[in-house]
């Protein structure tokens, strides 16, 4: 992506977000009592000001994008094997499944699976080490947080740890 494309995309995104907040988000999701005497004290005042400023910055980014050269950035994020997007989707899926599994399987078992899944997703060359770490690291963290820090780590519905 060239700096021009980045600036323009960000600018358009900021303007859309600002317009959405001003016309939909703030009227719909920010409650303000009807008896507020002064606008500057209203709960909606600050979000409106910030949204308007976001819109202005968006316009600034669009203008700056038009003035910036179109040459490609040399800091472009390089993907080597063409599987970057599938891996990103897989990682998003792992995160979504983590949220589902945490209250059901418990944190220790879920994080063991998360560790193993991400290590294999990252194509680790140390598979045995990854599996050992996948078991030991969650257990060590459980021991610290549950027994030293006194945090109530979720245990899940199946196997409970001491």
């Amino acid at each position: 992506m060239s700096p021009q494309v980045i600036q323009t995309r960000l600018g358009i995104g900021a303007c859309i977000a600002a317009a959405f907040l001003i016309f939909v988000g703030i009227p719909g999701w920010v409650s303000s009592p009807s008896n507020v005497q002064n606008i500057v004290l209203a709960p909606t005042f600050w979000p409106y000001v910030l949204s308007a400023m976001t819109g202005l910055i968006g316009l600034g980014l669009i203008l700056a994008g038009r003035r910036t050269g179109g040459a490609a950035s040399d800091e472009e994020v390089v993907e080597t094997d063409g599987l970057g997007w599938p891996r990103l989707v897989a990682l998003a899926l792992i995160m979504a499944l983590t949220m589902y599994a945490l209250p059901r399987l418990g944190m220790v078992w879920t994080t063991m699976l998360v560790f193993a899944a991400t290590a294999f997703l990252f194509r680790t060359r140390h598979r045995v080490t990854a599996l050992i770490c996948a078991v030991l690291i969650p257990l060590a963290l459980y021991a610290f947080f549950a027994h030293v820090a006194g945090v109530g780590i979720p245990q899940g519905n199946f196997v409970r740890l001491p």
């Binding site: 980045i6 600036q7 960000l10 900021a14 907040l21 988000g25 999701w29 920010v30 409650s31 303000s32 009592p33 507020v36 500057v40 004290l41 709960p43 600050w46 979000p47 910030l50 976001t54 910055i57 600034g60 980014l61 700056a64 950035s73 994020v77 390089v78 993907e79 080597t80 891996r87 990103l88 990682l91 998003a92 983590t98 949220m99 945490l102 998360v114 560790f115 193993a116 991400t118 997703l121 990252f122 194509r123 680790t124 060359r125 140390h126 990854a130 770490c133 996948a134 690291i137 969650p138 963290l141 459980y142 610290f144 947080f145 030293v148 820090a149 006194g150 945090v151 780590i153 979720p154």
Partner: protein, 495 residues
């Protein structure tokens, strides 16, 4: 309470095995975290934060300060050995450190980096002890209008941490300010963007947002390209730094430390500009100026003194005014808050024992840094050998435990994941995350003080200009904005 009484109170708090062990452990974690390219001192501090919950406030904060100090030094190790700064602050160290490593003198460069870092750290800590109390006593006379003007000025920090584009930094800050409005309204208690979910009524958890923004994007980036990190570490060589080297570079070290103290005490400047300024001053004044950039040991000393001189000084605005001096101190503010402490002038009245305990701990930290740094230089090969594709899953698991532990709430883990993707999109579009975090912290304070000032004055905006203190901060804000605009205008014709 007299200075002596305060010192005794601080000593009684900090003189325990736990406190010094936490400091020592923090420095070890920091050096290792800073030395692993891609992990960074910021992420090391963020990941250590959840481990402080169960500790005494002084122990937990000393642990984090240890990570901070160790991380800044640790960043110089990969900068010298593999030309990859572990932290942005170590960028200037590459200029002469890497050429020295190429000549087979990496051990000498690392030794000088350590000596310069420890000297600068000590000078910076002394500056903190001398100036923070004085500034805090002055700030005791502040009311909401003064704090509003101060925080507004502090938001100009964003210019310093915006990187290549101020507009992108400003956009990031606006997103942070907007996210900070989530929760119940401060005055009327009505809902703002809570969607009726009780989890969101207290606002989004600071630690979840912070770890999501700084740690998770690195993990996502690894999914995009799992082999991007592969590099080769360099041998240390047999040459070691000598006292003659240190003596020859001493002036540059002291000058760099003072530059670091001055720039560090101004919120937002950060360690990287300080390191480069110190380096350029050393080059300008050195009789060997033609050697700079080709492997001059004084260049390594100057840049390391410049970046470590900042470490103690950034705590001056943090402790005295409650304003973070840089991103890492913004995270450390979170640790204070978790332990029920509010950094700022009142802390010098209510928690003077903690303040002086921290001062004593910081002085000791320079000695610990020297010990840990000496070992770390020899052991870096082992640190560099930790497989990144094992490290990152471990970081992910640590993030899940750490974020959950803040409130015992799985919702916070979800917030962290979402913020991680936001942070990754920002990273891909070169939008810096630091302004987001700083604005997220300062946003509620800014709004709260603004509305309190308006309530005090019956909505008369002139209260925001009510006296010399507010005039001073408004003037500083205007001067900073003018300087930023001039900087942009100068850069524009050049590009």
């Amino acid at each position: 309470m007299s200075l002596f009484d305060s010192l005794i109170a601080g000593l009684s708090l900090v003189a325990s095995f736990e406190a010094f062990f936490a400091l020592f452990a923090g420095i070890c974690i920091g050096v290792v975290g800073g030395a692993i390219p891609g992990l960074s001192a910021t992420m090391a501090v963020a990941l250590t934060l959840p481990f402080t919950f169960s500790l005494q406030p002084i122990t937990g904060i000393l642990l984090l300060l240890g990570v901070y100090k160790g991380g800044i030094f640790g960043g110089s190790i990969p900068a010298i050995l593999i030309k990859t700064p572990g932290t942005p602050a170590s960028s200037a160290t590459i200029l002469d450190g890497f050429p020295l490593a190429e000549k087979g003198e990496a051990g000498r460069a690392l030794g000088m980096a350590l000596w310069a870092s420890c000297t600068a750290d000590l000078i910076s800590n002394l500056a903190l002890i001398l100036f923070a109390g004085w500034l805090a006593s002055f700030a005791l006379s502040f009311g909401p209008p003064e704090f509003f003007a101060l925080i507004l000025f502090s938001l100009t920090i964003i210019a310093g941490v915006s990187g290549e584009s101020l507009l992108r930094g400003a956009l990031s800050a606006m997103l942070g300010l907007l996210l900070a409005t989530v929760g119940l309204d401060l005055v009327y208690g009505t809902n703002r963007f809570t969607f009726g979910d009780p989890n969101m009524m207290g606002g989004l958890n600071f630690i979840a947002v912070l770890i999501g923004l700084f740690a998770i994007p690195e993990i996502i980036a690894m999914a995009w390209n799992p082999t991007a990190h592969l590099g080769k570490a360099r041998a240390l060589g047999k040459t070691k730094v000598t006292f003659a080297d240190y003596k020859r570079s001493f002036k540059s070290i002291v000058r760099g430390s003072l530059i670091g103290v001055f720039l560090g005490s101004i919120p937002g400047i950060g360690a990287a500009p300080s390191a480069f300024l110190s380096y350029s001053e050393a080059r300008r004044k050195s009789p060997n100026k033609e050697n700079f950039g080709k492997g001059e040991i004084e260049g390594v000393a100057a840049s390391e003194a410049g970046n470590n001189g900042v470490a103690g000084a950034t705590l001056i605005p943090l402790l005295a005014l409650g304003v973070p001096g840089d991103v890492i101190t913004a995270i450390i503010i979170g640790a204070f808050m978790i332990h029920g402490l509010q950094p700022g002038p009142m802390m010098f009245v209510l928690n003077v024992d903690i303040i002086y305990g921290l001062f004593i701990g910081l002085i000791v930290s320079s000695v610990f840094l020297f010990i840990v740094g000496s070992v770390a230089i020899k052991g870096f090969k082992f640190v560099a050998d930790v497989p990144k594709r094992i490290l990152m899953p471990a970081v992910l698991v640590l993030c899940i435990y750490g974020v959950f532990a803040v409130n015992n709430n799985i919702f916070d883990v979800g917030v962290m994941f979402v913020m991680g993707w936001v942070g990754y999109v920002m990273m891909r579009h070169h939008v810096p995350a630091a302004p987001f975090l700083i604005a997220f912290i300062l946003g509620p304070l800014l709004e709260d003080n603004f509305r309190q000032a308006m309530l005090m004055s019956g909505s008369d905006p002139m209260i925001l200009l009510r006296g010399p203190i507010t005039w001073f901060f408004w003037a500083l804000t205007v001067i900073t904005i003018v300087a930023i605009i001039r900087g942009i205008a100068r850069k524009a014709p050049a590009t």
